[in-house]
Amino acid sequence: MTASRVALRRLTQARIALGRAGHALPTQAQLDFQLAHAQARDAVHVPWNIEAFAGQVRNLGEEALLLATAVGSRDEYLRRPDLGRLLDEDSRARLKQLRNQDTDVALIITNGLSSTAIERHGIPLVQAIRNAYRTRSFRLAPVALVPNGRVALSDDIGGALAARVAVIIVGERPGLSAADSLGIYLTFAPHPGTTDAGRNCISNVRPPEGLGYEAAAAKLLFLTEEALRLGLSGVALKDDLSGWLG
């Protein structure tokens, strides 16, 4: 293979100029792919140590609430996205007891499709968000920790708490190049049946390659304030921070 062809690799992250062994991939390229896939698989299937996570949230000075979805197993979570959007009955009953509190923001955390992402970036992100929110006078509900949740779970939780805004941090579907991305979704006036057009998303939180914790938290703070001020979220709420950051 010519040197200039190998040099094309600088232009893209795509797996180009891999060489060949006969018709097939060279061994190094083959094993490199297998390793990336193995990391992505592990991200989906390793369990999330939610008790330890709750302890770390409490160490930040926040209350943590452990809830469950209607999902019975990781296998069922993958097959039945509808169940990952619902709380189980016990969790819903517990939330109803908190409903009397006047809540601006319900912050929810789930491993989603990547436990690796939540284990690696969850606590520093929560810390950055907490620090950002505590500069304002938002009334925060206890941080809800829920394994096997989907984005729309925030509708069920936010609705049960009668929160003005629901924010859910979720492990994104792992790719070969990134198995540890977190996404953040914000919904104003959350209630079951909200469509994705009613949400704002901050994706690829994954420093150092992706978005950093403080930058994500600043963006979320901006979106939260705008959502509360305008009384809406989703496509009508622009997340252009450039002017705001000055």
Partner: protein, 465 residues
């Protein structure tokens, strides 16, 4: 119409035709998610039995969605060819399976009844076929299409070169594109999934592809897989559009969720034909489909995923496409759970499409939350190649960095050429040999490609225009 069968003293009832089709479907998570799958393996097997005994004419008398409610059903009803149907009109579904596999049935006999088969008949017969039946029967259906080359000839396997980039960076795309060409990929189409669907961006990419194809005189066609309305706008502005792409589904409501209807597809088809850019033929639509799309749009009318998919082929064939691609494992494990389900679906789609007369390719693919890996893809890839699949994808290292899923690589196509002797489209093969990429024996050349190609690589890596 209701259907019942008693088996060992236990009575099974199927309330209507779509329920019977759903219960007779080989297991997949999409139908379970929709709540229409068989409750037990025995119920599934009994449903298949009942289905096998149904006369094919049942599907003409008992539409799954009333035609007055759904334009896809109207299209299927109106385009049914009674003359072509005549030779098989007395068959049950089970007899139809046997006729498709019989050594007495000639290839030409199968081609002759194409327009007499409705998508529902194709779906029904596939449900009582094993994987080997789907392979053997599809192999007997030859479908040839032309734009700047000839696709689908027996003994040939083509590839879509897919040089995607997460930000549509032209140099990043060009690097993957050149790399793919140098591995012999790209005769079905050089097709980019744009990260952004804006007309300006799509126009820029179309010019890039057009320049590469003209500069190197490659007998192939380009496509940027934008929404049909974007492509239509660009055609009106005289941007070089070879193929019109669109994702399609098998119900009017699902197509509405894609922002399309049949009239819009017809308008785009006519507009692209008026450009007369194909020197060998007029097939210029490129459709993508996939089991589960109607369900995900909540527009499946209680019809199983595979039958909805076959109905999408009913839409496709109204527009004489150059290429149809079932993107089989893309949508996730809630639709096709594991390698076994993905392989089955890929073979069903390829068979059903070919039986209906479509140039079927397959994006043999999976996501990381599905129970599948590259070994499952090797299996499906090989099975489809044996079945005579028209084309597969060529993605650098099988890793699409824009769409974040795994497909098939340039190397995978070379593997099939090696083990099965499958050649690219004849015009493209001649070009590969002429520019020194292939060695004249259907394999990569040991030497360097032509000076013109080397210069293009040098310029791109140096950053000169």
């Amino acid at each position: 119409m209701a259907f019942t069968r008693t088996f060992k003293g236990r009575s099974y009832g199927f309330g209507d035709l779509k329920t019977l089709l759903a219960k007779a479907s080989p297991r997949r998570s999409a139908d379970e998610l929709a709540g229409i799958a068989a409750a037990s393996e025995e119920e599934r097997a009994v449903a298949q039995w009942v289905l096998a005994d149904l006369p094919l004419t049942t599907f003409l008398m008992d539409p799954l969605i009333p035609p007055e409610e759904d334009e896809v059903s109207r299209l299927i009803e109106m385009s049914h060819d009674r003359m072509a149907f005549a030779p098989i009109s007395s068959f049950t579904v089970g007899e139809f399976r046997e006729w498709l596999l019989s050594e007495v049935t000639a290839y030409a006999d199968i081609a002759a009844i194409r327009t007499g088969i409705t998508p529902e008949m194709a779906a029904a017969v596939s449900k009582i076929m094993r994987n080997q039946d789907l392979i053997a029967a599809a192999r007997r259906c030859s479908v040839t299409t032309r734009f700047r080359n000839t696709l689908g000839l027996p003994g040939r396997l083509s590839t879509r070169l897919q040089p995607n980039h997460p930000t549509d960076d032209p140099r990043g795309i060009a690097a993957s594109l050149l790399d793919g060409l140098l591995y012999g990929s790209g005769d079905a189409v050089i097709g980019i999934n744009p990260a952004t669907d804006s007309p300006k961006n799509v126009e820029r990419l179309l010019h890039l592809l057009d320049e590469v194809i003209r500069r190197h005189e490659i007998p192939t066609q380009s496509c940027v897989l934008a929404h049909v309305t974007t492509t239509l706008e660009l055609i009106h502005r005289s941007v070089p559009v070879d193929l019109v792409f669109q994702s399609i589904a098998g119900t009017e409501a699902a197509n509405r969720s894609f922002g399309i209807n049949l009239a819009l597809l017809a308008e785009a088809h006519d507009a692209a034909r008026s450009l007369k850019r194909g020197n060998l033929g007029e097939n210029l639509m490129y459709f993508e489909t996939g089991q589960g799309s109607a369900l995900s749009a909540n527009a499946h009318h209680g019809i199983d995923a595979q039958t909805c998919e076959a109905r999408a082929y009913g839409v496709a064939r109204a527009f004489s496409p150059l290429l149809v691609n079932t993107v089989v494992g893309f949508i996730g494990p809630e639709y096709l759970f594991d390698g076994k389900q993905i392989i089955r679906a890929g073979l069903e789609d390829h068979f059903s499409g070919k039986l209906l007369g479509l140039p079927m390719g397959c994006d043999v693919c999976y996501t990381n939350h599905a129970e599948a890996d590259q070994n499952d893809m090797d299996g499906l890839l090989t099975l489809l190649a044996v079945a005579g699949c028209t084309y597969i994808m060529g993605v650098p290292g099988a890793d699409d960095i824009m769409l974040a899923y795994q497909s098939t690589s340039f190397h995978d196509a070379l593997y099939l050429r090696r083990v099965l002797g499958l050649r690219p489209a004849p015009e493209f093969e001649e070009w590969l040999n002429r520019v020194g990429i292939f060695d004249g024996r259907n394999a990569l050349s040991q030497g360097n490609p032509s000076p013109k190609l080397l210069r293009a690589i040098q310029e791109l890596s140096d950053g000169t225009p």
